[in-house]
Symmetry: C2
Amino acid sequence: MSFTERLQAAVRRTHNPSVLGLDPMPDYVPDYVSAESDPARRILAFNKMLIDCTHDLIAAVKPQLAYYEALGCDGFDAFLETIRYAAGKGLIVIVDGKRNDIGSTAARYAHAYLEGGFAPFCDALTVNPYLGSDGMTPFLEAAHANGKGLFALVRTSNPSAGDLQDLILQDKRPVYEAVADLVTGWGKPFVGADGYAPLGAVVGATWPKQADALRRRLPHAFILVPGYGAQGGTADDAARLFDEKGGGAVVNASRSLMLAYRKAKASTADQFVTATRAAVSAMRDDLNAALAKAGKVDS
Amino acid sequence: MSFTERLQAAVRRTHNPSVLGLDPMPDYVPDYVSAESDPARRILAFNKMLIDCTHDLIAAVKPQLAYYEALGCDGFDAFLETIRYAAGKGLIVIVDGKRNDIGSTAARYAHAYLEGGFAPFCDALTVNPYLGSDGMTPFLEAAHANGKGLFALVRTSNPSAGDLQDLILQDKRPVYEAVADLVTGWGKPFVGADGYAPLGAVVGATWPKQADALRRRLPHAFILVPGYGAQGGTADDAARLFDEKGGGAVVNASRSLMLAYRKAKASTADQFVTATRAAVSAMRDDLNAALAKAGKVDS
């Protein structure tokens, strides 16, 4: 099965198009989850706790590499143990690294996450399209050959996304639409039986006015949607980025799920589990209700 | 001293505006440099050999993270040992990672390379500007506070750079010029006594027609020039990206220096040293001659 088929099947099985972002800070970790003073061990214990209490409810996790790199080599050890643990629980692992470089170097990043290095526990990688096709080809070839996936930045969720992405071209397209068209062209030769290419797109939930047009411009792209929750995107905003059958997209939340225990004032591990599961279930129900409202339901 | 002052001083001291790219592949390493079978140990031994035989001739090294990430956690250990070793020899270390993300996550990458984690042995980091100002601010603030540097991708050296970077805006600027203008604006509040901001730019030597205009559009940006050597850029092409006094830029070469031993058919460590030093000296002389020819010499 291709990456997109596996991801869609996992979403159907759990009835949950959410992705749990694993962007841990050492000070996020309550003492009842880890009494370690070593920051890398603290975040690993936190991740395992989050995975333990959500793996039956969700399809995928998305560790953000920056949060591990910030802790140096120990952080990478914690990253490896995290993805090994998540994959062992049957979760799909989307590594968020926004990697990018010229072709010969992109091939080494592709090796790291899609072929060798971390690849046994990594299903997909986010990439940045600024370098154009020859920076994308090694990623695409590695993803296609190994049943892995990619998500290229198209429209990011942050407030200043438009500094570059909203500039208007002579042909009237904003830059982000031109990037969407590039992504569609790059993925086309690799479209699988499910209609999706291994090259998906990142489109933030925080730009609802641009969502419908982007969904149409990205017919073969599974969309990874950041920006829900802590960043302000709503379920209705995110629902615009799904296909007509309510597939073809997953929605990430990191802080709003990782820190649900704080909002609930959880002071024991049991309360942590309850609060986290409740937040994951609420996000799932919120997204499914928005998809039903939008008429995006598999019939 | 600011990062750009330190870098310029090192270039003046060595009379060499070259940067040695450390992008090692395990199969680059001749057996007389390392008999290890472990790929991470092989590349570390190779890097140390390269540093040992060039550190008196050059100002800076540029390890490319992808080549280390490709080897997983062991690769990161080799990366850390490489930059520790290079910094110990007095070399300036420019980490090439092209990192990028939304603000909260960019802050973690900034921590990794400019504040904590790998920062003790890292002087500068390359970044990708696709996310706009709020993805750049944490990098800039960390660089400014810690005397570190940044180089943002403006015009990359690869053949398909133009897929996105050459698209023409309504106001007639190509995207790469618009990015140059953003970089100039972002760096301006941080310009130091030497006239340079901690935010520099990456502009490939492979696009000589665009070089003069880009140098003018980037008045406060120290320019990191890839694409010389194996990628086809010449010293005359690179010279266009220096300022009028022959400063404000450094030129990277990776494969043409790392693999000089192969071209020279070196079969002993002594021959490796001779071949590598000759290649580094030849590049230095080539660049200095081109700068003199262009009239870009400090008077």
